[in-house]
Amino acid sequence: MLDLFVQAAMLGGLYTLFALGQSLMFGVMRLTNTAHGDFIVLAAFGAVAGLMLVGASGAATVGVALALLPVAFVFGWGLQRFVLNGTLGRDPLPSLVVTFGLAIVIQNLLLQLFSADPRSIETGGFNTRSLALPGGVAVGALPLLVLGVALAATAALQWLFSATALGRSFRAVSDDREVAELMGVHAGKVYALATGIAFVLVAIAGVLQAMRTTVSPSDGPLLLLFAFEAVIIGGMGSFWGTLAGAMLLGLAQQVGFRLDPGWGIWAGHLVFLAVLVFRPQGLFPKTRG
């Protein structure tokens, strides 16, 4: 029982990381980014490629991961500025199509460059280290790190978007771009900044994913769905909600897996649909009025 909850929290932490970037782009910018999972995979391959260049070692992994963050930021910034900005609007279709297209491009580009072999990032044994809890439960050090990073990232984002001028101008732009510009907010830059931040999270998620398991070019869509589910279960515009959504998804899957491994992910989907039916606004939507 304890093991169930511990493992659910670990899985939830991972899904939180997958979901935060999505929450930012989807929940706040209304951008349906169907390439999200593929960007995570791309980031992971970025780290893999980096390690191929400098040679694998524990220190190199940390170094490459840190170096990847600014690269991801610039990448996201540019992507939004030069591609995605052209797709925004009331109609979800353009962003959907463009990101779908990007997903296909990324998957096949990675396949071309790296072949379909699964890759992973060497952690120098860190990924198999664990802490023994009372009751015979062991907690992996890496999942614990993932959970910690997820909590920190959630807190940071929530603060950024609800308590700072940046967050405010950001939401203003997503509501009515023209008027926001009239107020002196530079919409294009605000979006680019947000996507840059989202991509930093994507990079973190990608690196940790590749440490934890293997990544291969076709992994993206699965990661995407989990991310979306966490975001929607949690409710729009609230990052704590996303965290809670990810935890709930993790728990639902864990319970499902234990009943029968074939139905674990299915159970997660069902919880997601149930939330939609009974609370379409999500569990913790940003309180409005």
Binding site: P118, R119, P143, T213, F257
Partner: protein, 391 residues
């Protein structure tokens, strides 16, 4: 000159791509070997090989097979690499009445997965590979050679292979219990599962010491890592599919050491090609020299498929479908994967079995890990390179 076309379908891209990785190289080699053409019914034909990518998708596999048959009008189709590719291609051939030779799928998923009727067999499709009975025999032979509590945990995904391996009648459960092993099977899981703690918890509570199954490489890594994290350390891990390819083992890092898997072909197999006369060792060396990559098991089978095709075509009376089919059915050939001969009753009318042994990945010299044959009880001619060591 007249041209005879041979179609070849395999997963070049997608998650199953390692299975098709060697095909391009093999086909290049074949082009050279067959550059003088083949005489069919007393007439010389130039040989053209058309390689199509199934993209690891059964849909796509069926589509390209149909293209090959209807548009390119190939004389026969070859296909290899998991039920996801071989089954739809075989089905398309059966329906369009074009001969087909398939491989790299244990014969049960190939035959029963296609809803074959053992009483009738198939008319157009022929298969060359081993079966689950062989893999079970090899795995258990290996396990018996180390001391364990004989408690086995099974990881069978919900795909063509997993369903066959885990099948109550045809798969692992029955023979294992007959041999005194207890199997813990938590159930079919989806490929790409992010989390195996449910299985690990179950294995731990059942005191499992041997883990087996047939999983895709990423899942193997996820499972092994989480098992280590959660303090589960089985003595033997013998997995099909996931551990076939050196790339996958390297991706496992230190966890790759000591894992065991089935070996269907290796450089130490005492066979040689009827076409190029290369021994298995020479073939593998040529591959490594040509591609700068470590050898993989599908090389031998891709090569053998062409051996069979070439041999059958040269014996065929004409290019008529039925003649080619009859020639295939009458094959009796020593290939680089062993002797190939169809015949017999039931499924065996369409299935020719090849030998199978057990291998273990050990830290190597030239390559990061080498696959060493550790149990050859099932086929003594293949020399063993060592003893199975518990992890």
């Amino acid at each position: 000159a007249d041209v005879v076309k041979i179609g070849y379908v395999s997963p070049q891209t997608g998650p199953l791509a390692p299975f098709g990785e060697a095909d391009k190289w093999v086909i290049e080699q074949m082009k050279a070997a067959l550059k003088d053409g083949i005489a069919i019914g007393g007439k010389k034909y130039e040989v053209q090989v058309l390689l199509k990518d199934s993209q690891s998708s059964p849909n796509r596999a069926g589509e390209v097979a149909n293209d090959l048959i209807l548009k390119e009008k190939v004389a026969l189709v070859l296909t290899a690499g998991t039920p996801e590719t071989a089954n739809p291609v075989s089905d398309a051939c059966e329906l369009n009445e074009v001969p087909c030779i398939s491989s790299v799928v244990p014969w049960q998923p190939w035959f029963f997965g296609r809803k074959g009727d053992p009483a009738k067999g198939f008319n157009w499709t022929y298969h060359v590979f081993w079966g689950l009975e062989d893999v079970i025999a090899n795995f258990t032979n290996g396990w018996k050679s180390v001391s364990t509590n004989k408690k086995v945990g099974g990881l069978f995904p919900n795909d063509g292979d997993g369903n066959a391996w885990g099948d109550k009648e045809l798969g692992f459960p029955k023979p294992l219990s007959q041999m005194g092993f207890t199997l813990t099977d938590p159930g079919r899981f989806q490929n790409g599962t992010q989390d195996f703690s449910a299985q690990i918890a179950k294995f731990k509570s059942e005191g499992v010491e041997i883990v087996t199954g047939v999983v895709i490489p990423p899942d193997a890594k996820t499972f092994l890592t989480q098992a280590r994290q959660q303090g589960f350390r089985p003595k033997v891990v013998t997995l099909g599919k996931a551990l076939l390819f050196p790339g996958a083992i390297e991706a496992l890092g230190d966890l790759g050491d000591g894992l065991t898997t089935e070996v269907w072909w290796s450089p130490s197999h005492p066979f040689s090609s009827s076409l190029t006369k290369q021994s298995a060792r020479q073939l593998a060396d040529a591959y490594e020299a040509g591609t700068k990559k470590q050898w993989t098991q599908p090389i031998g089978f891709a090569h053998a498929l062409f051996e069979i095709a070439g041999n059958a075509l040269s014996r065929s009376k004409s290019l008529k479908n039925t003649d080619v089919r009859d020639a295939i059915a009458a094959t009796n050939l020593q290939t680089v994967v062993g002797p190939v001969k169809w015949g017999g009753q039931g499924p065996f009318r369409n299935v020719s079995k090849t030998p199978l042994v057990l291998g273990q990945w050990v830290k190597g010299g030239k390559h990061k890990y080498d696959l060493v044959i550790v149990n050859n009880e099932a086929f003594k001619q293949i020399p063993a390179g060592g003893q199975l060591k518990p992890i």
